[in-house]
Every structure is written in C-alpha cells, then in structure tokens.
C-alpha cells in the first residue's frame, strides 16, 4: 500500500529486494511524526493538505552526488552542444540549461563552473541555469551551497579556491555570485503542468532519474522532457541510461565525448 502510494506520488517503483530501504525510511518518518503504527501514519500522510506528503517524498529519494560527476558530458556540452544551440541565436539571447534532478546542487553548480572555465562565449549570452528536484529538502541545501570534502574530490585546488569559500575546516561554500546565478525550484518530472512552468530549454541534464521509474512513468517523463526542450535542444542522460529503450521521439546524437539525445529541429531551423 505504501509503495503504491509512493508510486502514485513520484513514479518511483520499489519492488522486491527494497524492503529494508523502504522499512528504514518509513520507520524514520513514523518516529518523526510520532505515529506508533502504520495505519495511523498512513492516515496522517494521506490527509488532504498534509505537510507530511513532502517529508515522505524527501525521505525516499536518493541524493548522493559530487562536483564534476560524469564530466565527459560537460566536455560534450562546451565542445559540441552549445555551438549548435547558439548557432541561430543573436548575442545576448537567453541560453537555458536545466539540471533535473539536481539533488543538493552539485550538478548545476558544476555546469556553471565548467562553462565559466571552458566556454569562451560564456559572456555573449544570457545564461540561465535552473536546478530542480522533487525533494524540497535537498533544494534548500542546494541554495545554501555548503559541501564537504568528498563532494569536491573531482575539483582541483585552483577551482576550489576560485569558486568556494571555507567557513570552517570541514566545509566549503559556493561563493555568493555563483549561488546567485542558479535558480533552484521543485518539480515532479511526471507532472506535465508543473514541468511547463519552467518553459523550454536548450540543454537538459537528467541523469539517473529515469532508472527509478517504471515503464509507463518513464514514457511520461520522456515526453515531458521532450516538451521542455526547444527544437534542436539536447537531453543528457546518465551513462547507464538509454532513451532508445524508453521512447523513439528523440534523435540519438553521437559526439566524441558522449551520446546525447536531441529534440529534432523544426524545418528551416538548425
């Protein structure tokens, strides 16, 4: 019953073999809400307007990541994708990038740092970077921009010194200018109307989200992502994911550093 509810809320399917994961998080939420039995907790969870709904979703999502993870895609971004994205844009035009799900912000901040460091045209366009996740607690952490040593393991000391300040011996905080450059906002990738609020993007990074969905939810999410791309826009999935097994609506683009997916350009455009 709980897993059915979670599936309806998020599209995440927990099958056999996930009992420990589910039980552990359920127990945490029951303790936090002072419900001694499951029936009472479930009634609390499903009460209209209950704040527990978001806490429940937050508890079941997976949030481990680090800076410059899967950097081959960042090389592909500045080496191949962006040139195509801006080919028909005048200087000063918006260039929109969406990191979804962004967890605690490592990916959208990585995109910003990578572009600042590796894309000579970075000052020529109005670049918007948005990080989104279904988990509002991780978005709050992302806005704060404070990370431990492990999250920074792929960054060299020059980048750390340039883009982070160190409030104490164990933590590094993304500098204010960079934090101000990324918008963090919640979204459920299965909710079409929610997704439409974000407009259309030149590039979407959607790594390691679809693997948590069942088949129908994957198709719905794929169509939402397609709709969220500008014609000619690119979708970057995780290295173990393949859109070809989910949907045939994207073009497959093979570049030197990565295979990515593209919403086909409209006739008469790049």
């Amino acid at each position: 019953m709980l897993c059915d509810h979670l599936y309806r809320e998020t599209g995440i399917a927990f099958g056999e073999g996930k009992e420990y994961y589910v039980t552990r998080r359920l127990t945490e939420r029951m303790l936090a809400t002072e419900n001694v039995d499951f029936a009472a907790y479930f009634a609390h969870l499903t009460t209209q307007g209950s704040a527990e709904r978001q806490h429940f979703i937050n508890a079941f999502t997976v949030n481990e990541t680090y800076f410059y993870r899967e950097d081959y895609q960042l090389r592909c971004l500045t080496g191949d994708l962006l040139a195509n994205c801006v080919a028909a844009k005048p200087p000063g035009a918006p260039l929109r990038i969406w990191s979804l799900p962004c967890s605690t912000g490592e990916e959208p901040y990585s995109i910003a740092i990578w572009m600042l460091e590796n894309w000579p045209l970075v000052d020529n366009y109005n670049i918007e970077i948005i990080g989104s996740d279904i988990d509002t607690a991780v978005l709050e952490a992302a806005r704060g921009g404070v990370y431990g040593k492990r999250a920074l393991m792929r960054l060299d000391s020059r980048l750390v010194a340039k883009y982070f300040e160190q409030p104490d011996a164990e933590n590094w905080r993304v500098i204010g200018d960079l934090r101000d450059s990324v918008l963090f906002a919640p979204v459920n990738a299965l909710e079409t109307l929610e997704m439409r609020r974000f407009g259309r993007f030149d590039v979407i990074f959607c790594r390691n989200m679809l693997i948590y969905f069942d088949e129908v939810s994957r198709r719905i999410a794929a169509e939402n992502l397609y709709e969220a791309l500008l014609p000619g826009g690119y979708l970057c999935l995780g290295h173990a994911e393949s859109m070809s097994r989910i949907s045939g609506i994207f073009e497959v683009c093979r570049y030197a550093d990565a295979i990515v997916y593209r919403r086909p350009p409209e006739p008469g455009h790049g």
Partner: protein
C-alpha cells in the same frame, strides 16, 4: 561574476482540463498542440475514441507515441482495445507502437494473452509471445508452454522458445521437448530448445 543570469519561472497554470477543447486541439491543432492535447487527454477516459481516431490519420511518429502513452496511462479495457486493433495494422510502425504500449499495461495484457496466443493470424501469435516476455513467469510461461504443444508455425514456436528461455521453469521442459519432437528436421529450432532448456535448468539450480 556573476556571468550567469538568474532565471524566472512562468506562472502556474490553473484550472482543470477541458477535455473537449483538448479533443479539438488534437483534431485540428499544430503538431505541438496535437501532441500536447494527446498527452493532456491521458486523464480523460471519454477521450479514448478521439485518441483512437487520431491514430488512423497520417501522423508523425511523435504524435502516435504520445497517443499510445496516454492510452497506456488510462490502462482500461477501452484503451487496450485500441491497441488490439492496431496490432493488426498494415503499418509496421503502428503495430510496433501498439505492442510497446500493450507491454505497459500488464494486467490488461495478461487477460488477453490466451486469446492472442490462440489467434488465427500467426503474426498476432508472434506478437503475443513478445508480450508474454514482460509478464510474470507464473502467468506467461504455462501459456507459452501450452502453445508449443500445438503451434503449427515454426517461427511462432521459435519466438515462444526464446521467451521461455528467459522466463521458463522446469515445469515447461516437457513442452519444449515435445515441440522439438514435432519439428525433427528444423535444426535451428532443436538447437533453440536445447539452449532454452539449459538456461531453465541453470536457473533452477
């Protein structure tokens, strides 16, 4: 710094779905509007006939996929009936899209699998074997095994054997052997039966 501009979100859309407006868009909108309408109608069971009608028109593959996803999301007898109809389409792309969408509806598919495996058209029986691949072994394997004892088309037998190699259990081994015995001259089929039986035995330990 900052070199990067802070973004802004569009206002939230409010109001419920006017399904008849969406049907109008599906029938007469631009390509994007038609796709968006097809997707919006996933929430409206009364729209199944309109979605089905749109599949009968010349259309781009992306619209068709959106329609099939919406029908699969509805996951009811009416939406599955549309897929059954298109499983017999002359258009190969439409047949494949229908079969892919049927795989998204395991309960509906399970209830139709016996009749699909017994269909008079061998192409439908072949598709039914593929459909069985996605189902729980306890449902699909006995049906495939039963098919193997009487199926006249060697290609359908080969498709069923391939799926049984993945999902079969020791209980299906006699049917595999019986199928091999019915086609002694088909060396490929006999090889497939042996390979499938090996896989089943290996899984069973």
């Amino acid at each position: 710094m900052p070199l990067i501009r802070k973004a802004a979100l569009l206002p939230a859309q409010t109001g419920g779905l006017d399904w008849q407006v969406e049907v109008s868009r599906l029938q007469a909108g631009s390509a994007d509007e038609r796709r968006a309408a097809a997707r919006a109608l996933a929430a409206e069971p009364r729209a199944v006939p309109a979605l089905a009608a749109a599949l009968n028109e010349p259309a781009d593959a992306r619209l068709r996929e959106a329609i099939f996803t919406s029908l699969a999301t509805q996951d009811n007898a009416a939406s599955f009936a549309v897929m059954l109809c298109h499983l017999r389409a002359d258009d190969a792309e439409l047949r494949c899209l229908a079969l892919d969408a049927m795989k998204l509806m395991p309960q509906q598919a399970a209830s139709h699998l016996p009749s699909l495996l017994g269909d008079t058209d061998p192409d439908i029986r072949l598709s039914a074997c593929e459909l069985a691949r996605q189902m729980p072994p306890e449902t699909a394997a006995p049906l495939l095994a039963a098919r193997l004892t009487s199926e006249p088309q060697v290609n359908v037998c080969a498709a069923a054997i391939e799926v049984l190699a993945e999902i079969g259990r020791p209980a299906e081994l006699p049917s595999l052997g019986a199928c091999a015995a019915r086609f002694p001259a088909e060396f490929f089929l006999n090889f497939s039966v042996e390979a499938a039986a090996d896989q089943i035995r290996a899984r069973a330990g």
